[in-house]
């Protein structure tokens, strides 16, 4: 059994950092994940967080995204999300109108 609730993979191409997240984000890991992603914002001009493989994301995950949006603004970094329609994260983001704050792509190559 893989004990990691969420896995992160960093991919850099043409000045864009793509962070692939897979698994679940909840109270147990949101804080650590935020610390991990904050660094990525710092040294990139554009960051895309791919949530396509995320199967669970609750208010803790939303809080994390909200925090990243604020920090990206301060760092002058462009932050975008990828979450296909019907995806768990996409549903939660839309339900809470978080989609108003951040650009969400259906697919990574959009």
């Amino acid at each position: 059994m893989n004990n990691e609730l969420v896995r992160t993979k960093f991919e850099r191409s043409n000045g864009t950092l793509v962070v692939h997240l897979s698994g679940e984000i909840d109270l147990s890991n949101a804080h650590d994940l935020q610390a991990q992603l904050k660094g990525a914002l710092h040294d990139s001009t554009r960051v895309v967080i791919d949530l396509a493989e995320i199967v669970y994301l609750d208010s803790q995950g939303l809080r994390l995204i909200k925090q990243l949006v604020r920090e990206a603004r301060e760092e002058n970094t462009q932050l975008e999300l990828v979450a296909p329609p019907g995806n768990f994260a996409r549903q939660v983001l839309e339900m809470t109108r978080m989609s108003d704050y951040i650009e969400i792509h259906d697919r990574l190559d959009d």
């Binding site: 669970y56 609750d58 208010s59």
Partner: protein
């Protein structure tokens, strides 16, 4: 008896013994002494303790005094006139020739030690003094001899020689280094072993202060110690210590050293007696033994673990966890076991036992009993009868002759728990609400292989989420403490475990009850929780910790999937419940002991799921919640119907409902 020379010593003086000795019954008397002289002489001769005999030059006995009668056993009239050779052993007859030759020559013989014969042929040790008897012309006409029985003296001498020999052999061959020192510490004598074993000579060590001898050359502190010990020994104090010493080749060894003062009859210390036994090999052997014991202990622990179940498999409705903890003291392992197995009727058997004794034997016996118990359990529904059969097994094998066991069978469908105990401390029942209590019925004596009587049993109905704790006595026993203290402590710790996972319960019990360093016994703990699935409902209790959320979601997914919920409904419900639980974990128990969270889902008749999430925390953090914490509440209320939150001082309950819309048609 030591060999003695019988060569006759030669006298040279011409001193005359009294011309007439003894009461001469015959023989010439050239010059008649006065009557007064004769009377005097006779008195001297008769009262002498020494045999006094005179003889002529041809050896014929001419006089024989009273002591001679006593010493030789011949009366005067029996022996006078016979030859003196009668008194001489055959192999010593030549002596007489020598003696007579010397006497004729005017010589004398003094204190010549030899052997003579008594009347009945018995040999005895004598000392002879022989003088010539001369006539007035100065011619030798006979001999007078004084014969002293020296048997007793000889024996004393022999004993002294033997004692001396013994002392020498003890001093030199006993395996003990020994020496003799003056009270000032100068070494005056040393035995061979102390030299030979160490490669030193007498010149290397004698007449030196003992502390300056090469045995101690490797360590000045030791030299000082010996000097101080010598000074104290001179005042009468005994010193004893294990010391390092050095032999000629430079290697270091260990000696069990003692220094005794030796006193004379006036109680003055006359010399000091240092002794030592080399214990290098013994010390090495002891070290090897310790290593061997440690190794054996490892093997016993290994065997123990191998013989205990590696995985406990239980059906739904029952959860279990177990721990085995080896005792800290060397070799005190083995003997405890736990086991959980399912019976054919779906019930679950749980047991903890303890075989008397420790080490490999106990571990092996434990393995046999554990196997026997699980095999026999298939043939009886009655825990009491099972223990009777196990006792018969103990009687039939020589695995052990003493064991205690508690055994119980839990029906996951009803919560009915049948149990029995053979001399084992009682099972603890911790109900979800209320006081823990001991299951003290169903008790019978330990298994000793000699009791064929029926053993009792009892039963109890468990509430859902009740916790049972089975354990071996190592958990509750502490040296110098009443057993009831240990039981009270177990009760206390177990009561706090109602909201914990069973692994945590076990860990906490072992950690909080098994902390004593000098614990002699090993410990087995088995925690059992009755977790029935309510009919058609979902029930999940977990400690209020974030890491537990994932397991909750897994259970929920399984349960919801099994009920045919559509993915959207399922995900919405999981999210809503997740939010409620996160709130409970994050806020309800802030700064407090972690409690547990209960999630219950019931399906009502109108295709609606009714959800309740309960905690026992206080809403301390609610008033200073972060501005965006409303997100979770918003999600819950958006996703569900009839969302309510009810807080009381004893806890919070969140309730909501979810219509089942996406269910596949059946």
């Amino acid at each position: 008896m030591t060999e003695r020379s019988h060569k006759v010593p030669v006298g040279v003086a011409d001193q005359d013994l009294a011309g007439a000795l003894g009461r001469e019954r015959s023989g010439s008397r050239p010059e008649r002494p006065t009557d007064e002289q004769l009377a005097y002489l006779a008195a001297v001769v008769d009262t002498s303790n020494d045999a006094i005999v005179s003889k002529s030059l041809d050896g014929t006995i001419t006089s024989w005094n009273a002591s001679a009668e006593r010493v030789f056993g011949y009366r005067a009239e029996e022996i006078i006139g016979r030859n003196v050779r009668t008194l001489i052993p055959a192999e010593l007859q030549a002596e007489e020739d020598d003696i007579l030759a010397q006497i004729r020559a005017g010589g004398y013989i003094e204190h010549y030690e030899t052997v003579r014969l008594k009347k009945h042929g018995q040999r005895f040790d004598v000392s002879l003094s022989i003088s010539p008897i001369k006539n007035q012309a100065g011619r030798v006409i006979g001999a007078a001899k004084i014969v002293r029985d020296i048997t007793a003296r000889r024996q004393a001498e022999d004993e002294l020689i033997a004692t001396t020999a013994k002392f020498q052999s003890v001093f030199n061959q006993s395996g003990i280094f020994a020496g003799i020192m003056d009270p000032d510490g100068t070494l005056r004598e040393i035995n061979d072993l102390a030299l030979d074993a160490c490669g030193y000579t007498r010149e290397d060590v004698l007449n030196l202060p003992f502390w300056a001898t090469p045995w101690w050359r490797g360590d000045e502190a030791e030299q000082d110690l010996i000097r101080a010990a010598s000074e104290r020994a001179a005042t009468g104090e005994v010193f004893r210590s294990t010391l390092r010493y050095w032999v000629a080749d430079g290697s270091e060894r260990l000696v069990d050293f003692a220094l005794h003062p030796i006193r004379d009859e006036r109680d003055t210390v006359r010399f000091l007696y240092p002794t030592g036994i080399d214990i290098t090999e013994r010390a090495r052997a002891e070290q090897a033994l310790r290593e061997q014991e440690a190794e054996e202990r490892e093997i016993a622990i290994g065997l123990q673990r191998a013989l205990l179940p590696s995985r406990l498999v239980v059906p739904a409705g029952v959860s279990v966890a177990a721990r085995y903890d080896a005792a800290s003291a060397a070799l005190e392992v083995g003997g405890d076991w736990y086991d959980v197995f399912s019976l054919t009727d779906g019930r679950v058997a749980v047991t903890v036992g303890d075989v008397g004794g420790h080490g490999l034997e106990a571990a092996a016996a434990m393995g046999q009993l554990r196997t026997a118990l699980s095999a026999l359990a298939r043939y009886t529904d009655s825990p009491g009868e099972l223990l009777t059969r196990l006792d018969a097994f103990v009687a039939a094998t020589d695995a052990t002759d003493f064991a205690t066991v508690c055994y119980g069978v839990l029906d996951p469908a009803t919560g009915s728990f049948h149990y029995a105990s053979a001399g084992h401390p009682p099972i603890l029942l911790v109900p979800p609400n209320g006081e823990p209590r001991w299951l003290e019925q169903g008790r019978s004596p330990p298994l000793c292989g000699d009791d064929e009587r029926e053993r009792g049993q009892a039963s109890v109905k468990l509430e859902p989420n009740s916790l049972l704790v089975l354990y071996s006595d190592g958990l509750i026993e502490r040296r110098g403490e009443l057993l009831t203290d240990g039981l009270d402590r177990l009760k206390q710790v177990a009561a706090s475990g109602i909201g914990l996972s069973l692994s945590e319960v076990c860990d906490r019990l072992v950690a909080e009850l098994g902390v004593e360093v000098s614990r002699q016994d090993d410990v087995a703990v088995l925690a059992v929780r009755f977790t029935p699935r309510t009919r058609g409902g979902f029930h999940h209790v977990f400690p209020a910790e974030a890491v537990e959320l994932r397991t909750l979601r897994t259970s929920l997914r399984d349960w919801l999937d099994a009920r045919g919920l559509g993915t959207a409904d399922r995900d919405a419900l999981i999210l809503a419940i997740g939010e409620a639980c996160s709130n409970a974990i994050e806020h309800a128990y802030t700064g407090r002991v972690t409690g547990n969270v209960t999630v219950e889902i019931e399906e009502t008749a109108d295709n609606t799921l009714s959800v309740a999430i309960k905690d026992q925390g206080q809403l301390i953090a609610r008033s200073r919640s972060r501005p965006d914490r409303g997100l979770g509440t918003k999600l819950m209320s958006d996703l569900t119907h009839e969302f309510t939150r009810e807080s009381t001082p004893t806890g919070t309950t969140v309730r909501f409902q979810m219509p089942i819309t996406g269910r596949a048609a059946t």
